[in-house]
Symmetry: C2
Subunit: 236 residues, 2 copies
């Protein structure tokens, strides 16, 4: 069966879109916990006010502002968020080489209330790319949800990492970007229909070698900012 | 509590976005039924191929292509869908005055497999605007989901109809458009934070009278096409 949303009595989940860079930001919180601890995955600088006001309206306490990788196509919102809500901690993978309050490594768990995310290494797009996956335990959301960053785009290009496909087929895939209007997919769907995965290895390598990806629009501005996402607020 | 997704063992649900008109199209299907009957709410002409290919990949059988109202800002996809999948029936409200295969009236139920939608009158934006709400029965998705068309925009303007607010507070609101990157809200949230609803009646009337809404971009092309959504295919 194909599922399209995850069911949990605890998880509050919102998918948010930034139109100029076609970026998805994800808000997750444990709504059953008295403090309603929340985290943001891949916030964008220009939508920080929208995100913080939603968090306030929902009565959540933002604890982590996380990135899946050093983005090249938008400026992360983590610095701005920290300047507005000083107790928020920024999080990124150690392998990214970027600055942040907390560095995570593959296998680490990030707890918020009774819920948690697992960190998986999915290098390819950038060296330090990680995928955050909801926990594999009975009281965690079912099916699991994977926040894949730029590792995998729905039915699309991306620089697909095969590690993702060791997750259960029902796992929902939430990418950092979508340019066609898709909001979610699953491991099973992508295994079957992602053009990159339905070709043999030789064909796949050729596609990868001939991508001719356009130079990302905002790379010159975005990468230097995003390397210091955790300390951007100190400089301002 | 604030929920953010509906839980059902039967419902397959996908939210799809068309960027130029910022329109959301919704795909719903009964995935537990042998035929996997599906419907689309507010399809857009330029994303019909994406939608039909997703439906095919998911193994669904599209039975209804529905509109919440005669749109002024994009051309409905129903005509094009019917020309590509002839057994699909177009659906719109009787009060809209538009052509379609099936006309619905407030109180009607639209069945797909073991699931159903209820039709509610929510005039205001246009005379024939309806909201489609998932059924109020134990085996239907919980919380309920309301597809409000242009009647209500999240935290925003729209030409809000108060009928929607007689639904349970947990009811999820899925609008036809969003210009700020929100994907979903709830009746409870909008009651508390929609600027139109937190003002007194006098202030509200003044806001409504002074909207100065821009003349919709595509109105001259969209409205005549959308009035004949059901027979567009016959003409082509
Ligand atoms: Fe990115
Ligand atoms: Fe519209």
């Amino acid at each position: 069966a194909s599922f399209s949303s995850s069911s949990s009595s605890k998880l509050l989940f919102r998918q948010l879109f930034e139109k100029d860079s076609s970026t998805y930001t994800y808000l997750l919180a444990d709504a059953s916990h008295p403090e309603k601890p929340a985290l943001l995955i891949d916030p964008v600088d220009r939508t920080v006010d929208r995100d913080l006001s939603l968090i306030e309206q929902l009565g959540l306490k933002l604890v982590y502002a996380m990135n899946t990788h050093v983005h090249a196509d938008h400026v992360t919102g983590t610095g701005l968020i920290k300047s507005k809500v000083p107790y928020v901690k920024s999080v990124i993978s150690k392998a990214s080489g970027a600055s942040a309050d907390f560095y995570v490594e593959p296998g680490d768990k990030i707890h918020f209330g009774d819920l948690f995310l697992e960190v998986r290494a999915t290098p390819g797009h950038t060296l330090g790319c990680v995928t955050y996956v909801t926990g594999d335990a009975p009281d965690q959301p079912q099916p699991r949800m994977a926040f894949t960053g730029d590792t995998l785009l729905i039915r699309g290009c991306g620089r697909t990492d095969f590690q993702i496909f060791t997750l259960p087929k029902s796992t929902l895939i939430y990418p950092a970007h979508d340019y066609k209007g898709f909001t979610v997919s699953s491991v099973g769907e992508e295994l079957q229909y992602n053009p990159r995965l339905t070709k043999d290895e030789e064909t796949f390598k050729n596609i990868m070698a001939n991508l001719n990806l356009p130079y990302p629009k905002m790379i010159d501005e975005a990468v230097p900012s995003n390397m210091v996402c955790g300390i951007q607020s100190k400089a301002s």
